[in-house]
């Protein structure tokens, strides 16, 4: 278990991702890395810019997406007040960061591993691919709504077998669901591991097929969080026995058959 801490760190870089008119909605935030031992893909950090003062009280949770010895990079979609203000940060700005938090995705180096990402859900998989000892066993499927260049898809497709589908029309959804069904069924037959991160309806679909085909699958939940450390009980979900458990400490990654979505 790596050591957790809370530090003020400096912003090193804020770079928009994508050339389309949605540029600015997706961006990478690179922060100084505190004296961590390391982090595992699926884990996240809470960040809170100092400039928020008391306007917004909670930090915001983001998956650790990439990193090296000196920095960590988060891949963020601006969706609301907090993320829009994070997008406006500049190099040198101070951010409070605590982590690495939560558990991580299973890594089974020799097993065919299927990564299923819905939109911004691709964020933790970048780190997963980077840190995986045998990337030749990985394949990734991305379902997205906005132009493909909004996502770090190119970076990933250089390393692993990648496929993507856009959901531009309501009818596209049926194709995506069919594809998910096929991918999960095939991977289950091969005794593979399926990992999923994306919007709740996307994860529910994956969970349904995982049950149907007896696939070993994990899902990563994105519940709203206040503390990130297991104290406030604001982020809970129901586990397989129907008990409320904290997503921030017992997750964010759960076995798909042991969580209610």
């Amino acid at each position: 278990m790596s050591l957790r801490n809370c530090r003020s760190v400096k912003v090193l870089k804020v770079s928009p991702v994508g050339q389309s008119k949605t540029a600015g909605e997706f961006f990478e935030l690179t922060l100084e890395r505190p004296d961590w031992d390391g982090w595992k893909p699926g884990q996240f950090v809470m960040i809170r810019p100092s400039s928020w003062e008391l306007d917004m009280l909670w930090g915001r949770p983001f998956s650790l997406s990439s990193g090296d010895d000196d920095s960590v990079t988060l891949f963020i979609q601006a969706v609301g007040r907090g993320t829009r203000r994070i997008a406006e940060l500049s190099p040198g700005d101070a951010v409070t960061m605590w982590g690495p938090l939560g558990n991580s995705f299973a890594v089974e180096p020799d097993v065919p591993t299927l990564l299923l990402a819905g939109g911004i859900g691709i964020a933790p998989f970048r780190g997963y691919v980077e840190q995986h000892p045998r990337p030749e066993n990985l394949s990734l499927f991305l379902a997205h709504r906005l132009p493909l260049d909004c996502y770090p898809y190119d970076l990933l497709s250089r390393t692993v077998d990648c496929r993507c589908m856009i959901e531009a029309e309501p009818s596209d959804l049926d194709c995506i669901i069919d594809t998910l069904r096929g991918l999960i069924e095939d991977n289950a037959k091969r005794g593979g591991l399926t990992l999923c991160c994306g919007p709740t309806p996307f994860m529910r679909t994956v969970q349904r097929f995982a049950r149907e085909y007896g696939a070993r699958a994990q899902v990563s939940l994105e519940n709203r969080m206040a503390c990130g450390v297991g104290a406030c009980l604001g982020c809970v979900t129901r586990d397989g026995e129907g008990h409320h458990v904290q997503v921030c400490t017992r997750g964010p990654v759960f076995w798909a058959d042991k969580v209610e979505l």
């Binding site: 050591l3 957790r4 009280l57 709203r224 297991g230 104290a231 406030c232 409320h244 400490t249």
Partner: protein, 305 residues
């Protein structure tokens, strides 16, 4: 500067405690600071039996504040005593148990379970549960009930310090403060959350599944200061100030009004190490403003004649 406080048999090495429900059972914060730097901490509300709490969503952010309707999710008092307490540094820092029950007898029973626990320095009685037996009026809004619950806890608490935590959702906080004092409370703590609500015009739904929730954070500080001011003047027992404290200056405002000590709640979410350095910052600020000591500063508010 001497920052120790000692009231009603409760010793705190400094006036900073963390508020119930915002600091887990304490262990959650151990990676972020030395728990023994705190004067004390109040554990998450405990009931006799485990409780699952309310459905999601349970929390919402509001301007300078937050709403919560957790619904006292907790694993029950036995779990706390056997699984958390033994791992807490209770010889070095005051561990305070926060009690939640739905009638006076149950409150007494809970107090009885904790009375013999050496590691528990005090019991804080949360009187904001709607009293099912008496027809849906919250305990905390009925002075007679506050007195009854306090008596019931006191009777079973052995020699433990009993702190009664008051709700601000009342017409006259002084009356409630007096009721707790008459029931035998060793001290009061206030405020608990203010009743509030948030809605979403797009989905046309409440932002909290339970609809009505508790407001906390800097947004409630003026209400909390006013309540503490009124309670301090209404009773002779010590008062602990809670509500919106997010800096050493905020904490000293409560001390100036007459609070013996303070509890920090929502600010623990600004950063998990927030509370650890607060006492040192208070000490530095007291020196900076020229106060001779914490005791000299306490209650020295100059009111207009």
């Amino acid at each position: 500067m001497d920052m120790q406080v000692n009231f009603g048999g409760l010793f705190l090495k400094n006036p900073v405690m963390t508020a119930s429900g915002t600091f887990g059972f304490g262990l959650e914060f151990a990676p972020y600071g030395d728990l023994t730097r705190l004067g004390g901490f109040v554990a998450k509300g405990l009931s006799l039996k485990p409780r699952e709490g309310n459905p999601m969503p349970r929390i919402a952010e509001t301007p300078c504040g937050m709403l919560n309707a957790i619904g006292i999710q907790n694993p029950g008092v036995e779990y706390f005593v056997t699984k958390a307490l033994p791992y807490l540094p209770w010889r070095e820092v005051a561990v305070i148990a926060n009690l939640y029950a739905c009638d006076a007898e149950e409150f007494g029973e809970l107090a009885g379970v904790l009375a013999g626990e050496e590691g528990v320095a005090a019991l804080e009685v949360n009187v904001s549960c709607p009293n099912v037996k008496e027809g849906g009026v919250a305990f905390g809004q009925d002075p007679a009930q506050i007195a009854r619950v306090t008596e019931a806890v006191k009777k079973k608490a052995g020699n433990k310090h009993v702190m009664v935590k008051l709700s601000p959702n009342v017409t006259d906080i002084a009356v409630c403060a007096r009721a707790a004092a008459e029931g035998g409370a060793d001290s009061l703590s206030l405020i608990n959350t203010l009743s509030g609500m948030a809605v979403d015009i797009r989905s046309r739904r409440p932002r909290i599944a339970n609809v009505i929730a508790g407001l906390s954070g800097p947004a409630v500080k003026p209400v909390a200061l006013r309540c503490v001011h009124q309670a301090v003047r209404a009773v002779d027992i010590p008062v602990v100030g809670i509500g919106g404290i997010a800096s050493a200056e905020d904490a000293l405002e409560f001390i100036l009004v007459g609070a013996q000590a303070v509890q920090v709640g929502t600010a623990n979410f600004l950063r998990p190490d927030f509370a650890f350095g607060l006492a040192d910052e208070m000490e530095a600020l007291l020196s900076e403003i020229g106060a001779a000591s914490l005791d000299e500063f306490r209650g020295s508010l100059q009111l207009p004649l």
